[in-house]
């Protein structure tokens, strides 16, 4: 038996987005719907331990929230105030009401949050808040901003949705693909934010990145056939499955040194399963597919030494010609160095610091390859350059360690 507290938490995780999308569809008031649903959950947490869990927890939450919105609307009417409603498309049909158990409008809610008319840095934050119910302070931590900054960003985005007339409803047929690409980009951005080292001792924030994975799962459930969605989820699951092995006693553990038994096997298998049978595509879907194939190659290797570097290098080459990205070039250089030797990797790094002047990884990678070739002095200088550019404490510690090792070699 689950305790009432556990039920509240479980329903919050599973049902927040669906309930909010229904409340929004029915009332077309973002502000009131979000507040009222939050309050309904708070009330459930307070009451269910005493009164017991109702037969239909989500029905109870929906009704409680809806009643509160109606009360607020009445108060507004009495005060003679009339707030703007969320726009809806002319052909939009609200989800079946009152079948709260089955109706779902989350896809429209996700498309609304990720609309290209919203600032990019607000989109994923808004999707996490409205679709997943992720608390604002956790979203703030994910994107390395303060909670008040994030709260203001979310408020502005919601205001713009209403004022600019960004509508609830499916995009026109020919636009859906580009809009879905943007949704995937948005979710991937949120995920990588969780693994981006910030200043200070926090190496990464895997729990917050996990919220983005959950959002990707929701999207896949809603659109199981969309290739970009499938490739994105595969990529996220494969990368996220390594989270527990990436850090040891507050220190970064490189992929090669990770204890592979700590990788989450179920997530890894799920990612590989999604990727199997996914045909080559075009555009962003193909970008995601290639990245997922690279992650899959790492996931399949029983030991670091058995990694299929030649295959990975080939995928990176395809990815580089598709994107022209300097970061991809950097990663390709690492793969090529593993497959063909350090000098081949160094050749690919040529000129890259001009394209990525603030990225310490160019210098760090070069240092490592110089060291493998026995150019200790060049390695030393490159590690120092990397240290100058790196601001994350944990990564800096790792770089200093490398310098120490070099010194020991030199003696």
């Amino acid at each position: 038996m689950k305790s009432p507290e556990q039920v509240v938490e479980q329903v919050h995780r599973a049902e927040w987005g669906r309930l909010l999308s229904l409340l929004l569809a029915r009332t077309r008031r973002i502000d009131l719907a979000e507040d009222a649903l939050g309050e309904a959950f708070a009330r459930a947490a307070e009451r269910w331990p005493q009164s017991g869990v109702p037969d239909s927890p989500s029905g109870w939450l929906y009704t409680t929230a809806y009643r509160q919105i109606v009360g607020r609307l009445r108060a507004e009417a009495v005060a003679g105030r009339k707030a703007a409603l969320l726009a809806v498309k002319p052909d939009w049909v609200p989800p079946e009401d009152p079948d709260v158990e089955l109706a779902d409008d989350r896809l429209h809610l996700i498309l609304l949050c990720c609309h290209p008319a919203l600032p990019r840095e607000s989109r994923s934050a808004l999707a996490l808040r409205l679709v997943m119910g992720t608390p604002t302070d956790q979203i703030a931590r994910l994107f390395l901003v303060s909670t008040p900054t994030m709260a203001a960003r979310l408020t502005r985005a919601k205001k713009k949705i209403v004022q600019a007339g960004i509508p609830l409803g499916a995009p026109m047929e020919e636009e859906l693909r580009s809009r879905l690409d943007e949704v995937c980009r948005t979710i991937y951005l949120a995920f990588t934010a969780g693994y981006t080292p910030g200043p200070g001792p926090d190496l990464f924030r895997a729990d917050a990145a996990g919220e983005a994975v959950r959002l990707a799962v929701v999207l896949r459930d809603l659109l199981p056939e969309a290739p970009q969605v499938r490739a994105m989820l595969a990529l996220l699951q494969l990368q996220h499955s390594r989270r527990d092995a990436r850090q040891l006693e507050g220190r970064l553990v490189p992929l090669a040194d990770q204890d592979r038994s700590m990788w989450h096997a179920d997530e890894k298998e799920a990612g590989l399963g999604l990727l199997a049978g996914l045909e080559p595509g075009t555009g962003y879907a193909e970008e995601l597919r290639l990245q997922a194939l690279i992650a899959a190659e790492h996931a399949r290797a029983a030991t670091a030494a058995r990694t299929g570097w030649a295959t990975i290098a080939r995928h990176y080459e395809a990815l580089e010609s598709l994107t022209g990205s300097a970061i991809v070039r950097l990663n390709r250089a690492v793969a090529v160095a593993e497959a063909e030797g350090p000098q081949a990797g160094l050749d690919l790094l040529t000129g890259l610091e001009d394209l990525l002047p603030e990225d310490h990884r160019v210098a760090a990678t070069r240092a490592k390859l110089f060291r493998q070739l026995g150019h200790i002095e060049l390695a030393n200088a490159s590690y120092r350059t990397a240290l100058d550019l790196c601001s994350n404490e944990v990564e800096r510690a790792h770089l200093r360690e490398q310098l120490e090792e070099l010194r020991a070699l030199d003696r």
Binding site: A87, K89, P90, A164, I166, P167, G169, P171, M172
Partner: protein, 117 residues
Amino acid sequence: MKHFVLLAGYGETTPWDEMTADEQEAEMAKHVAFSEACESRSGVEMLGGEALGDGSMATTLRTRGGEMTITDGPFAEVAEHIGGYYLLEAPDLDTVIDLCRLLPALDIEIIPVLEVP
């Protein structure tokens, strides 16, 4: 809701004066197609729209410290030529964006009109 559609810059199109007669005709046909699409789309109504004269014909008024100065030309801040505008009643932003695809490839800014209660 009302949307102000500002034709804010030439984008990749040729300035009107530099177009051949045929090009001008093709350009006009796009505006006509846009207007017709607005009329036939449900929930959309064209409330107004005009083409504007060249920026060099503009007069700028500024009031600073209570004193109005009158100068020649457009605001220096407006780098691009504002070619005209439309005022549309439309149910939502996506409908407006979709209709704007029919217009020439100008740089366009869609601004919501505030509803004064």
